[in-house]
């Protein structure tokens, strides 16, 4: 691991390498010098970053990025029992690589991408948008935001305003751990944080008055299709090396019924995308490890990051009304996933508006 000499002038170099990483002083033999060394110092944040950044480390101790509380929450809802060794084995072998602690964002690339220093060990106060955030979130969110998918424009917040992730997503959001999943509680960030005047009932935009309380913002303003994953299978080969297999992802645009309806998310219609989950996800490790799989849909509430003011589905009333293909119906859902998706399948597609009937 090559450390840039510039780092030696940084305040973070003052305590010395051994203060955070351990190891042995005064010896030049590699093996002896590395005895007791912790390559990833922030794996023990209280002993490294936390010796100075006390408050932040305490705040981030239970963060969603660190504990992957979203994974645990979803798997438990699907019946995973983490007192069972088989479940723990499956989870720690295949899922925890997405765990991120301080260094994964502020010093190196995420471990899920095999790490590597971002800038010669310099500590980035604000993590790199594309290396760090995009390192884990690019397959779906990052690519949508940058307009990677052919024929689908980038998000207007990026395309016109050049807004990095951190402009909407706050430091508290990155560090806090109060949510089970990122969609628990009120939307954060919420479009109305900036666009309150635009969506005001009785304001200048009639469609907002009509739809704001019944349709999630993204339903009208997502610029087009976004990625849906198909499935995920886990296992170990004859050599004991873990592997995953997935079928190809698909580009989809589906409006579903809101499975998270609440005062904070009152809409009847939201966008949904298929996630890489299936009942046999952990079957290699044990039989029926997700016995309540159908408790959660596989077409999940989503917030694509490809927002535009004018989109194909908001050009006119009947660009959306009566457009069965835009809505998640039974015919879109695999037979063995129907039960899991009952609450998100749209029971009746909003009919064509009379004034535009031919």
């Amino acid at each position: 691991m090559l450390v840039d000499e510039k780092f030696l002038d940084d305040v973070h170099a003052e305590p010395g390498c051994i203060a955070c990483h351990g190891g042995q002083p005064g010896v030049v033999n590699k093996e002896q010098a590395h005895d007791g060394m912790l390559p990833k110092a922030s794996a023990k944040p209280q002993q490294s970053c936390g010796t100075c950044h006390v408050g932040i480390v305490e705040q981030a101790h239970d963060s969603t990025h660190r504990l992957q509380s979203g994974y645990l929450d979803v798997l438990e809802h699907r019946g995973a029992d983490f007192t069972m060794p088989e479940t723990v084995k499956a989870y720690t072998t295949h899922c925890t690589k997405c765990h991120a602690d301080c260094g994964d964002c502020h010093i190196s690339r995420p471990s899920a991408l095999d790490g590597g220093l971002i800038a010669g060990h310099q500590v980035k106060r604000v993590a790199s948008v594309f290396v760090t955030c995009g390192g884990c979130h690019s397959a779906r969110i990052g690519d949508e935001y940058k307009g990677v998918h052919e024929g689908i424009p980038a998000d207007v917040h990026w395309e016109k305003a050049g807004m990095p992730c951190t402009q909407c997503h706050t430091i508290e959001e990155f560090h806090e751990g109060t949510h089970g999943t990122r969609y628990d509680g009120a939307p954060s960030p919420d479009c109305v944080d900036c666009h309150a005047e635009d969506v005001a009932v009785g304001g200048d935009i009639l469609q907002h008055t009509i739809h704001t309380s019944t349709v999630q913002c993204q339903v009208c303003h997502s610029a087009g299709e976004y990625k849906s994953c198909s499935n995920c299978h886990t296992g170990r080969d004859d050599s004991g090396i873990p592997y995953t297999t997935t079928d190809p992802s698909e580009m989809t645009f589906k409006i579903g019924a809101n499975p998270l309806k609440s005062d904070d998310r009152p809409w009847d219609y939201v966008l949904v995308r298929h996630v890489p989950a299936n009942p046999e996800l952990f079957d290699f490790y044990g039989e029926n490890l997700l016995p309540e799989f159908d408790n959660l849909p596989t077409w999940k509430y989503t917030t694509p990051h490809n927002m535009q003011r004018i989109t194909p589905q908001n050009e006119s009333c009947n660009s959306c009304h009566g457009q069965t293909d835009l809505f998640l119906t039974e015919s879109d859902v695999a037979a063995d996933e129907l039960e899991a998706n009952r609450e998100v399948i749209v029971p009746r597609v909003p009919p064509t508006r009379p004034e535009q009937r031919q």
Binding site: M1, V11, I18, P25, V28, G235, Y243, D247, P276
Partner: protein, 116 residues
């Protein structure tokens, strides 16, 4: 002429008397002025107070005044941490690192497939 001389003696006597009267008259004022000139003893008293243990209220204020903790912590860490010179010698030298580096074996199963 005699009268002028006479007058000079008279004036001389009067002058001496006047000076004597002034000395007598001004002496109390000079004594009054001494304490102010002697403000030094007051300063000494003040410094004596400061050198004494601070009253409770003062020490509370001092204790509750926010003190930057980070420098203290880093100083302590530096003081307690052994030198990392040996780490720096290798990890800032690309040639040495290339010589010592062991490329981790790429462990990817042949069965892995798809976008996972």
């Amino acid at each position: 002429m005699k009268s002028i001389v006479k007058r000079s003696w008279i004036w001389a006597i009067l002058g001496v008397a006047l000076v004597g009267a002034l000395v007598v008259f001004l002496r109390p004022a000079a004594e009054l002025a001494l304490p102010s000139e002697a403000a030094a003893p007051a300063t000494v008293v003040e410094s004596d107070i400061l050198s004494e243990p601070a009253p409770d209220a003062v020490s509370m204020v001092v204790q509750e005044t926010p003190v930057p903790q980070q420098p203290d912590a880093s100083v302590q860490v530096v003081a307690d941490t052994p030198s990392s010179d040996n780490c720096i010698a290798c990890h800032t030298n690309q040639a040495v690192l290339e010589q010592l580096a062991e490329e981790p074996e790429e462990v990817v199963s042949e069965l892995a497939a798809g976008e996972g």
